[in-house]
């Protein structure tokens, strides 16, 4: 084969069987499991009298339902508790490695996989969760699956699929001060739309991507799904390799050397052909704020709420009107004039140590504005929390008036007690601003950790570049 994209390399190395029509059986190396999308799969497996193909490929954790407040008395909501207990029982019965709620390694599945070195370059990684695209930051082919596919992977270690088309999103240039990986990916979604990546696997490339830390790269790949792409990915390099060294599930000794030699081949070849290339000038990107109920409804912080009368497409105009009504916003309002009620710093998009450090720097020595009813910082895992506490970040947040919580998905999707009340407006570092996502009637604005922190202090959105 001549030149290959990173996606070609990852795909080709996992083909078990290919039908003439292109339907392919793809081998899965890592299967991450959480409590919400797995119970019906375990049940299906049991009813069919099947056993998991390779238990060692599985790693389980409860994250969606877990409380972020004191956990010593367990989960009070009986339905949430049953779901978490069901995961615990299934893992016990089958001998699957699980980080229980009391384990310091517990956290959001997309934070703990990489943190443990359970996500490695060259792997196929799946989970019954659309944000599995996160793991593509490690030059892995990682994507979310439904519960039927969870059961399929358990039973066969494979998935039936067709190869997607390849898109390269090329971002050259240096990010300005106060502009983050979150702003990069929101700008991409704003440009190509939430269906722009449908049917594609996206490779993010260019000097702006290479300059990002692994945390930043995970933020970018995390939201590939918000651009419609099941998988996002980034080539492996020294940054990838040094992040993984010494992690518990990563190879060691001779195997480490052999592995790193292989990982260094995991990039698109010079001249590799993509079905589509999208270019963004990273230096031009400003801090981003979403204003509507789809992640593509995004503008720069110095922009205004759009005016639907200027939209010629009737379906789009209707979407803008519906969103503005739901969000309680008027056309042409400056973003910085929007007051907020709550602030959420957390989620699989932005709850890693670097995110917490950046947000803490913004709030250090300041205090949350009087109109902000609740500001919460929710670390992505027990180990992130521990690290943050070693650095004294918990105190910075608490002194600024934030609540410092236990790890979990929390108010990203409000399956636990953390939610918005109807009409409340939130500056959130999460990934979805859908209607009701953070609580029925809640209004979500997606931003970077720095922007959320600055909004908490000011009580409204501000341009963190001048803050």
């Amino acid at each position: 084969m001549s030149t290959q994209t990173l996606y070609d390399k990852l795909w080709n190395s996992h083909v078990v069987h290919k039908e003439p029509d292109g339907t392919t059986l793809i081998y899965i190396d890592r299967h991450l499991v959480h409590e919400v999308t797995s119970p019906q799969a375990f049940e299906g497996l049991r009813l069919a009298g099947r056993k998991p193909w390779r238990i060692a490929s599985m790693l389980a954790v409860a994250d969606h339902n877990v409380p972020t407040t004191d956990r010593t008395h367990g989960i009070t909501d009986p339905i949430s508790r049953l779901q978490v207990d069901t995961l615990d029982d299934n893992c016990d019965e089958l001998g699957i490695t699980e980080f229980r709620m009391s384990d310091v390694r517990q956290g959001i599945v997309h934070v703990i996989g990489p943190e443990q070195g359970a996500t490695l370059p060259g792997m196929t990684v799946v989970c019954g969760d659309s944000h599995t695209s996160t793991h593509g930051a490690f030059a892995a082919l990682a994507f979310g699956i439904g519960t039927s596919e969870v059961e399929h992977v358990m039973a066969t270690q494979c998935l039936l699929m067709k190869k997607a088309r390849a898109m390269q999103v090329l971002m050259e240039g240096a990010l300005g001060k106060g502009v983050t990986a979150k702003d990069l990916v929101l700008a991409v979604i704003g440009k190509i739309g939430t269906a722009g990546g449908t049917g594609y696997a996206i490779e993010f490339a260019g000097s702006a991507i290479r300059a990002l830390s692994m945390e930043g790269r995970m933020t970018v790949c995390n939201m590939a799904i918000e651009a419609g792409a099941r998988a996002g990915m980034i080539a492996a390099d020294d940054t990838t390799i040094s992040y993984l060294k010494g992690r518990p599930f990563a190879p060691q000794g001779e195997l480490w050397d052999k592995a790193t030699d292989y990982w260094r081949t995991l990039h698109s070849d010079e001249g590799a052909q993509f079905d589509k290339v999208v270019r963004l000038d990273a230096a031009e990107i400003k801090p981003q704020v979403t204003w509507g109920t789809s992640p593509e409804m995004v503008v720069a912080v110095d922009g205004n709420i759009p005016d639907p009368t200027r939209e010629s497409d009737p379906v789009k105009r209707s979407s803008i009107n519906l969103s503005l009504k739901y969000m309680g916003l008027q056309p042409n309002t400056p973003i910085t004039a929007i007051q907020i009620d709550k602030v959420f710093i957390g989620s699989c998009t932005n709850a890693r140590i670097e995110d917490l450090r950046a947000a803490a720097e913004v709030v250090r020595g300041k205090h949350v504005a009087a109109n902000v009813k609740l500001a919460m910082a929710v670390p992505g895992s027990g180990l992130v929390k521990q690290q943050a506490e070693r650095e004294g970040l918990d105190k910075v947040f608490i002194e600024a008036g934030f609540e410092w919580r236990e790890p979990g998905c929390s108010m990203c999707l409000a399956m636990n007690a953390d939610k918005l009340e109807p009409g409340e407006r939130c500056a959130s570092t999460s990934n979805r601003n859908f209607e009701g996502r953070q609580g029925p009637g809640g209004r979500t604005h997606l931003v970077s950790p720095e922007m959320a922190a600055a909004a908490a202090i000011a009580g409204h959105f501000v341009d963190v570049r001048n803050f």
């Binding site: 078990v16 119970p39 779901q83 659309s130 379906v315 979407s319």
Partner: protein, 214 residues
């Protein structure tokens, strides 16, 4: 899985782009450990005027009469007519489970989100992509004609309207065969057990760190 061969069903228009899976089935209903019973909570936040929680008696809840599914002329609909990027957002299979449980058998839209589309096929629900102009036409016809039925023939890949006009659609040949015959993917894959084992045997010496036993 139920077979899908041919249906003749009432169509209902849901005139919104980017309908996400949080709207199709809100997160509080994802706490169930079962595959069934999601139908009464399909589009819960649009369908009811109060806030729904698991365990409520949905028959006693106040309905939002403006929501299209609550209009008497659309009761019993089996075909959902939708706009672009239907099913975007999370991978929750509870979304197709809810649509199926409500009674839908097919969804027609200009585009679907990838994971949702996949999940539909696994549950005997047929997602049909038509070009935007055809979808616009169907929206106009459905809205203008009470009792507007469509006949969907998967074998022929054809939608026939009451006045006899026909729309052809594309469908993946493998998925079509699975739906027509009600085939279970796992059973099909397990016909390749030997190849899976051979793959593992071949791959293991290349990347031994991926095959650690603990």
């Amino acid at each position: 899985m139920d077979k899908f061969i041919r249906i003749d069903g009432l169509a209902v228009p849901l005139d919104r782009a980017n309908v996400d899976t949080d709207a199709i089935i809100p997160k509080q209903f994802l706490k169930s450990i079962k595959r069934t019973g999601f139908g009464p909570n399909l589009f819960d936040e649009w369908r009811y005027l109060d806030h729904g929680e698991p365990g409520m008696d949905n028959s006693k809840r106040p309905l939002n009469s403006n929501f299209v599914l609550n209009q008497p002329r659309y009761l019993g609909a089996q075909i959902l007519l939708a706009r672009e990027n239907f099913g975007c957002g999370s991978s929750r299979e509870h979304a197709p489970w809810a649509l199926d449980d409500y009674g839908f058998r097919a969804i027609i839209a200009p585009s679907f989100a990838d994971i949702f589309c996949n999940n539909c096929f696994k549950n005997g629900l047929l997602p049909i992509v038509l070009d935007t102009a055809s979808v616009d036409e169907l929206f106009r016809s459905v809205t203008a004609t009470p009792g507007y039925h469509l006949e969907i023939d998967l074998e022929q890949q054809r939608i026939t309207t009451p006045n006899g006009s026909v729309y052809h659609f594309e469908v993946d040949a493998f998925r079509k065969n699975c739906l027509l015959n009600g085939l279970d993917d796992i059973g099909l894959t397990l016909q390749h057990v030997q190849e899976i084992k051979e793959y593992e045997a071949r791959r293991k010496p290349e990347v031994p760190w991926l095959f650690k036993e603990s």
